[in-house]
């Protein structure tokens, strides 16, 4: 009986918290009281064109404020790795770098069957949990695809239990003018901010933010 009541309270708490988090609009004042000296940043790197776009955005950040930086990338993605080193070289302050790389298993490989993808995605999610618990970032930056969903979902669940205060920011690709990617549609609910790069998209998805074309 006690267990039943406890379970009800627990699920009620989880549901209410999740509901409030999904409905919440990140306001500019959310973090101001905290007076950050620097923001621990997690950057999720996808593949190909997504890498180029994300790194262009990272390049614009003040490397002293958004530090340390951890890059999450898929195992076997070496092209992205070399591009990261190039950008970080440019971001060096006083000849010091403040970044590291963390590799996670891919949710799904190109051509992999959807059925087996369920298991590899689950494995990927489980793998990310200790990574996220150790990292506890203040800021998560991502622009999809694939690799970012486990990270963002875990961050959301951690927030439900007050284990993580990180702000999740998803930047939709410049390619997306009239439709959101699948990652974007999912993260409308689970990310704190979804940024789009065309006004047409912002009008279609009112929850998104448009701050001009970024790349």
């Amino acid at each position: 009986m006690f267990l039943f009541v406890f379970a009800c309270f627990l699920f009620g708490f989880i549901f209410l918290r999740a509901f409030l988090l999904v409905r919440k609009d990140v306001t500019y004042n959310e973090h101001k009281e905290k007076k950050y000296q620097h923001v621990k940043t997690l950057i999720v790197i996808g593949s190909g064109g997504h890498t180029a776009e994300m790194l262009r955005l990272v390049r614009s950040l003040n490397p002293k404020l958004y530090s340390p930086r951890t890059y999450i990338l898929a195992k076997g993605d070496f092209t992205s790795e070399s591009k990261i080193h190039v950008v970080e070289e440019a971001l060096k302050c006083d000849n010091e770098s403040n970044y590291n790389l963390e590799r996670i298993p891919r949710s799904r490989n190109v051509g992999q069957s959807y059925f087996s993808s369920i298991f590899t995605t689950l494995y990927s999610i489980l793998y990310c949990i200790p990574v996220m618990l150790i990292q506890r970032p203040n800021l998560i930056l991502t622009n999809g695809p694939g690799t970012c969903i486990p990270i963002c979902l875990i961050a959301f669940v951690m927030k439900i239990f007050y284990l993580c205060e990180g702000t999740t920011v998803f930047v939709e690709s410049v390619c997306r003018v009239t439709s959101l990617s699948l990652s974007g549609k999912i993260l409308l609910y689970f990310a704190d901010v979804v940024i789009v790069q065309w006004p047409e998209l912002q009008k279609k998805y009112k929850k998104t933010k448009y701050i001009g074309r970024l790349v």
């Binding site: 950050y36 920011v169 930047v171 410049v174 439709s179 970024l214």
Partner: protein, 171 residues
């Protein structure tokens, strides 16, 4: 600066129909009539083109380069596949652009950007079968310049969230 060079780029994979369309006698003649003198083809993993040589039109090809920005700068016209990176690079270099879409690609989200560029008159946009027609009727001087993206807006946005703009006196 009119160099007379037309750059054709297919990106990181291949697009043989595009290359063979450009290398046909008909299209070369159209380009020559418009004053172009050289075709530079970036063919990716595709088949080496069979060029129907026409007089006065030089043809050169290569598969990949680390960066084609110099070739873009050296060209008067670029015919490109619909990859965003490619298109934005050409528009950033302020060169006239014709985006050729690969109809064989399924679920082609690249088309959204190509259509947008066309609608806003920054570039032309067509399929391989429409390329001839597009090249005959295009007016590159009527294309509007494409403003560059501002990644600093992203930095400012994050700075606002974390209260950095106040600290550093930036509004």
């Amino acid at each position: 600066m009119a160099t007379g060079q037309v750059l054709v780029t297919v990106g990181t994979t291949k697009f043989d129909l595009f290359i063979s369309t450009v290398c046909s006698a008909e299209v070369s003649r159209i380009l020559k009539r418009r004053g172009y003198k050289k075709l530079l083809l970036q063919i990716g993993n595709g088949n080496i083109p069979e060029v129907e040589c026409i007089e006065g039109m030089d043809v050169e090809y290569f598969r990949f380069k680390d960066s084609i920005i110099q070739d873009i700068q050296d060209s008067s016209l670029v015919l490109s596949h619909a990859g965003a990176g490619s298109c934005l690079e050409v528009l950033g270099a302020k060169k006239p652009l014709v985006v050729v879409v690969n109809e064989m690609l399924m679920n082609n989200h690249q088309i959204e950007l190509a259509k947008q560029l066309f609608t806003k008159e920054h570039a032309y946009y067509c399929t391989c079968s429409e390329l001839k027609e597009t090249l005959v009727h295009m007016n590159v001087n009527s294309l509007k310049p494409f403003p560059s993206g501002k990644p600093e807006n992203f930095a400012n946005f994050l700075n606002e969230i974390f209260g950095f703009n106040d600290t550093f006196g930036i509004s």
